[in-house]
């Protein structure tokens, strides 16, 4: 069995994390969009049905820094991103994307009210007119191979 031991230096992981984080601010303030329906296989695939769009008021993520305890370089939201009046859906949400000011997708992840998903809400169903506040979304780049 071949061995795989690709490991980043801390500065490399921090640089990669900053690069991804900065993409969210390209073309204007980024947004976090929550969807219902089948999660696309890839982040570049066509989007599903939008349920809420939480717009950032400024830079999406802050500067990344290395966290010794988790062996990751991490970037946190600069502030809560919100949708004060969600489109809503009777169907449970399934995934989210972070898109930049040019409407280009930066990343995609799972979303539900179930612990263990990437983005965990207090309710998997978002009624029309709900306020949705994303209070935390940490982007992490590990230094060691999974």
């Amino acid at each position: 069995m071949p061995a795989h031991h690709c490991r980043l230096a801390q500065a490399a992981a921090t640089g990669a994390c900053n690069f991804i984080a900065d993409l969210a601010d390209s073309g204007g303030n980024g947004s976090l969009i929550i969807y219902t329906g089948t999660e696309p296989t890839h982040a570049n695939d066509a989007a599903a049905t939008e349920v809420a769009t939480c717009a950032a008021a400024g830079a999406f993520w802050g500067a990344a820094s290395y966290t010794a305890g988790t062996h990751t370089s991490d970037a946190a939201l600069t502030a809560t991103v919100s949708d004060p009046h969600a489109t809503g859906s009777a169907s449970a949400v399934t995934h989210f994307r972070v898109v930049n000011g040019s409407a280009a997708t930066v990343l995609q992840g799972t979303c539900s009210a179930t612990a263990g998903d990437d983005l965990v809400l207090n309710s998997a169903v978002i009624a029309t007119g709900s306020q949705v506040d994303i209070t935390a979304l940490t982007l992490s780049v590990p230094i060691d191979q999974a």
């Binding site: 983005l119 949705v132 992490s140 999974a146």
Partner: protein, 39 residues
């Protein structure tokens, strides 16, 4: 003779970037959704 089907490439183990977060959904206020008591 038909070509043999190609095997799918083996998955590549790698550095897995991830994003973890939490959010709060606040339903619309009751005045937006009329109730029987308002009839």
């Amino acid at each position: 003779m038909a070509d043999a089907p190609q095997e799918a490439p083996a998955p590549i183990m790698g550095l897995k970037v991830y994003a973890k977060g939490v959010g709060i959904v606040t339903p619309p206020k009751s005045e937006d959704t009329p109730t029987e008591s308002e009839n």
